[in-house]
């Protein structure tokens, strides 16, 4: 089968691997943006401290809720003060007569259902006002869908393309042996008997290509992460979380490379024998 097939397969696998890593990082980015956005429910002034657990309980009972955190007005004020050190005195004077409302910070599970949850939250008698990043959540949901569709179609296209490229590059080697294949059929060999060596050859080439692609990805990704780690400000500008560390996906990457490589290699070389078996 040879070096050409090996190279073609390795490049295809690399494309698959790199785009997967890219998509996974985008997912992480979107997820962390999502995490930052909580719904805030402001409580009416007349809700006393002893009614808080009950209110918290009834919110938790709603579907799609991950957690409900009580955020008393004292904490809110402290956080404000901490954020704006230079106006400390102004706020200090407010400590005795805190104008901020008590609130719940609510995290929901499925941002695509945010409108329903907001509606349900507004129904409660203790609710003064619900502040939710509704529009933002919708954009995020749509973005996620796009990323999913694009990545799935990209990966399927890449796998299909590699299959075609592999069966093309094995075709030459099979063509050179077509007479041999014909003769084998004339003396009574079955298709699977004739295909066996081609199958194993393809499997082996695919396996080795998978290892090669893994090595390239390993060094490439880690080198890239080094650059990013040395320029933390860059990551802080575009994102809110750390990029995916390679160690977290290394076994999955290796497994996927070896499997896809072996399957495409074997399938590609078997497909290219088919034409010559029709005798």
């Amino acid at each position: 089968m040879g070096i050409a097939t090996f190279c073609v397969l390795m490049v295809s696998l690399l494309l698959v691997g790199i785009s997967s890593l890219f998509v996974m990082n985008i997912e992480i980015l979107l997820g962390s943006i999502e995490n930052k956005n909580e719904i805030v429910l402001f409580l009416k002034d007349d809700v006393t401290e002893d009614k808080i657990p009950e209110a918290q309980e009834s919110i938790s009972m709603l579907p799609n809720i991950v957690y409900v955190k009580y955020y008393p007005k004292e904490t809110a004020l402290e956080n404000y003060i901490a954020q704006m050190k230079e106006y400390e005195e102004v706020f200090d004077s407010l400590k005795d007569d805190n104008p901020l409302p008590d609130a719940f910070n609510i995290k929901i599970e499925d941002t695509s259902k945010i409108t329903e949850t907001v509606d349900a939250l507004s129904e409660f008698s203790f609710t003064e006002k619900v502040k939710a990043p509704t529009e933002f959540a919708q954009i995020l949901t749509r973005l996620r869908k796009v990323v999913f569709v694009v990545s799935v179609s990209l990966l399927s296209a890449l796998i299909l393309v590699s299959l075609i490229m592999i069966s093309n590059s094995t075709r030459a080697s099979v063509y050179a042996r077509r007479r041999e294949i014909n003769i084998m059929k004339y003396v009574g060999a079955t298709n699977s008997f004739i295909r066996m060596p081609f199958f194993f050859e393809g499997l082996f080439t695919g396996f080795v290509s998978g290892l090669g692609a893994y090595a390239v990805t390993y060094y490439g990704y880690n080198a890239l992460m080094d650059i990013i780690a040395n320029n933390i400000s860059f990551w802080e500008i575009i994102g809110v979380s750390e990029p995916l560390p390679f160690s977290e996906v290394q076994f999955m990457m290796l497994g996927v490379y070896l499997c896809i490589g072996a399957v495409i290699g074997a399938l590609g070389s078997v497909i290219s024998t088919t034409k010559h078996l029709q005798v």
Partner: protein, 233 residues
Amino acid sequence: MVELKNVCVAYNKGHNVINGINIHIDDGDFTFIVGASGAGKSTLIKLLLKEVDACDGTVMVNGYNLRTLKKNRVPKFRRTIGVVFQDFRLIPSMTVYENIAFVLRVINAPRSYIKKRVSYVIGLVGLQNKMKSYPNELSGGEQQRVALARALVNDPKLLIADEPTGNVDPELSQEIVGLLKAINQCGTTVVMVTHEHELVKHFGGRLININQGTVIYDDVIDGEAESLTDDSI
């Protein structure tokens, strides 16, 4: 057993290379097929091996109806036949030994049996000292004998030989036909294509003459040397 009824074969539509042929060959027969070059002899053999398909008529070989035989059953059918092809069809990347052994590997024969059987048939055609040679290192006649050994190795019910003496001198020709006759006496049906009328006259047997895709003569003729045939096996 071979049963051909009103069979026609065409490579290109509208031009029949085999044209309404009727041939019946019983188990255990020895049949010579002769005919001018281009008469359709090799095509007839390709038909018997299901290398080409009939466009009309009935084709029964060794109990298989080739016109209705499913693709995945073809290998099993072909294992009941041994063929010496006019162009030998040896696998260039395999040695003489491997070429012959391949036929037995295909049917998953045990290693020890393969070794014994292959050595035996190589002995029959007198190529013991060429076992490790590759086809391109052999003369035409030697390649032809390898092809014969390969056709024999599986102990087929029907042995078909397309010009098995085409590349050898008259003495060796007689030896090869003698070998085929001996194999025939052990119960194998033999069909041999030749254009050497001398050989046919010498050995005798059933003779079918084909011209332009039809049978023009089919009868048994007496040989001059019936007694020469019983020594090889």
